[in-house]
Symmetry: C2
Subunit: 121 residues, 2 copies
């Protein structure tokens, strides 16, 4: 369902949080689907339950999941979560574009880069 990469310098909880966010916001994990339990996922990934808990806590703060003590954690895709992610990606996009411009690239060249090497409709 989700994998962690120990060569990735990012902390495990970030990899989990970002990986699940991707699955949820893109609809791979559908709303109301049950997330793996903290202990279950910790056992299957051979990491500490606290690390899972931290990722889940942040996903809940973002509006991606809802956790209910005793019952479990469930996908709960929120408009706010989608918008927040879109805003974040827009900032990243604009920063990369800004620096590419300072390197002398024109908007046409940047748009070409953007379309190359990607599947696009």
């Amino acid at each position: 369902m989700i994998q962690i990469n120990y060569r990735d310098p990012r902390p495990i909880y970030e990899q989990l949080r970002d990986g699940f966010r991707q699955l949820i916001l893109t609809g791979v994990l559908e709303p109301n689907a049950k997330m793996p339990s903290v202990r279950e996922l910790a056992a299957s990934l051979a990491i500490n339950p606290n690390t899972i808990q931290r990722a889940y806590r942040e996903l809940e703060a973002e509006g991606c999941i809802c956790s209910v003590p005793g019952r479990g954690s469930f996908v709960c895709k929120t408009d706010a979560a989608v918008l927040a992610r879109r805003t974040e990606l827009t900032a990243q996009l604009q920063q990369a574009v800004g620096e590419l411009r300072t390197l002398g690239l024109t908007d046409e060249e940047i748009i070409a880069l953007m379309k190359e090497g990607n599947d696009h409709d």
Copy 2:
């Protein structure tokens, strides 16, 4: 010349490296210009010389500066350095674009985001 931000979670040596790279690749610091000496910059920023050295070492590995024992470090903008940065930014751009697409945005909408809120010729 360069500033460090203690609220920035990134390590100091990365802030220095990225800040100088920006100044060099954009031409603010011209080729053959003398970089501040390791000890001088360490004193003026009130940080350890080893931290400066680490940033300089990486900038030299990237081809942004050339260090000469006894003489100092000098701006040495290389085609390879420009290309490497361009490749890096392209990857960032394409990743942001890819995820924005999975959120349902069309290329036209993404291009609009890219142009909005930026100075562009």
